[in-house]
Symmetry: C2
Subunit: 210 residues, 2 copies
DNA sequence: CTCCGCATATATCACGCAGATATATATCCC
DNA sequence: GGGATATATATCTGCGTGATATATGCGGAG
């Protein structure tokens, strides 16, 4: 009986307005999809449980043809539970980063291969930035007086600063990789692997050396 | 039979030197723990399977008292499988961000509460940065001639740029939140929730408005 | 000297979560 | 008429985390 994060994402979405499970999925995709995802596999079971806990109430809207809409609405207890969670500190979790994992083992392949990955990543960041600018314009025009807008702009700005910094990192890394390609055009090397040592923290940077 | 990421993290670690499951866990913690985690619940089953696929070979080192060490070593096929994966593009995944989720629903609680979260986050970034500086010193001194070091420094630099940008974001956000507290000291408000609109992308920023 | 915590070491289980799929129907476009 | 798409609920498989079980040696606190 834990089921932590998703539970509060659902509660949070319902704090905005009553919704069906389907609505919640769409709302997540249309608002916080840059830093959050929810799947039906989570949403539907959670809604059932929230009803049992009296944090939401369910009303069924009959529809001709299409399946009935099961619309869920936050109760006072539900809102209070949400506010409670919003008051607790967000515990940072290590984010798995596939690009960095590949780069960490980069010596196993050619510098050109690694360069390709960084360039692809660069492209993705540019796309994200362009999108952020569009969204920002939308918020500043359509939601000028909405009391939520400062918070939406804050989450948006987070993404902006992030992408800008990562672009800077891409530039630096691409330069370094190009230099490595130039020096000695190393193809995908084979066996001459040797030991090596730690990067980053963990309790005292333990050496990987044998 | 998918089991993608963890599988290659294990293979990658074994490309550095032969290790036991226990060693792999420690090595991950002592090197890539800032952007990757592995749990025993993944490592041990994966090692078993890798043996079956002849990507690694296992030798048992008997020890008095302590359990036997099951040491796994990469085969040529195993290395080639790893290099294959290293050549494929890293698909970016949406990273769930609890802090941003809380801020997105920030209007549900006081600005002071949200400020507290940002400040805590700020503190964490400063700690990370300090740690990065230590690790960098270690690499530059102990691994000056290691061919891996350019790649380690690259992953390290990623973290550095990230944290710097996030600190900048914290400064900006804290300023905004303090201003909000000053304007009208809004305590945790209750029911007057109104609808609102989308932030961030997703297929065309769908409004959350009813 | 004894007990406690910690490191070594393998293994498994419960549960959060993602992605795919099943089912059913209406509408829009070709 | 047929296919794609949207609405809508529901479930299953498999990845991944964190906790726990089991067994033992070692170093330090009391």
């Amino acid at each position: 009986m834990k089921e932590t994060k998703s539970r509060f994402a659902v509660l949070g979405m319902l704090s905005i307005r009553p919704m069906s499970g389907y609505d919640i999925k769409k709302a997540v995709e249309g608002s916080i999809s840059n830093f959050w995802t929810e799947s039906y596999g989570q949403i539907y079971p959670i809604l059932k449980r929230l009803v049992g806990e009296k944090l939401v109430v369910k009303t069924v809207e009959r529809q001709s043809g299409k399946p009935d809409r099961h619309v869920y609405e936050l109760t006072a207890r539900g809102r209070s539970e949400l506010q409670d969670w919003l008051g607790k500190p967000a515990v940072p979790k290590v984010q798995r980063n596939e690009l960095l994992l590949k780069l960490f083992f980069g010596e196993e392949v050619s510098a050109a291969t690694n360069l390709k990955h960084v360039q692809e990543f660069r492209r993705a960041q540019l796309e994200l930035l362009a999108n952020y600018r569009l969204v920002e314009k939308g918020i500043r025009s359509k939601h000028r007086d909405d009391p939520n807008s400062p918070y939406w702009l804050m989450t948006l700005d987070y993404g902006t600063e992030l992408s800008r910094a990562l672009l800077k990192w891409c530039d630096k890394s691409e330069r370094r990789l190009r230099k490595m390609i130039g020096e000695r055009s190393a193809g995908p090397r084979k066996n001459p692997r040797r030991g090596q040592g730690g990067d980053k923290p963990g309790p005292r940077p333990a050496s990987l050396k044998r």
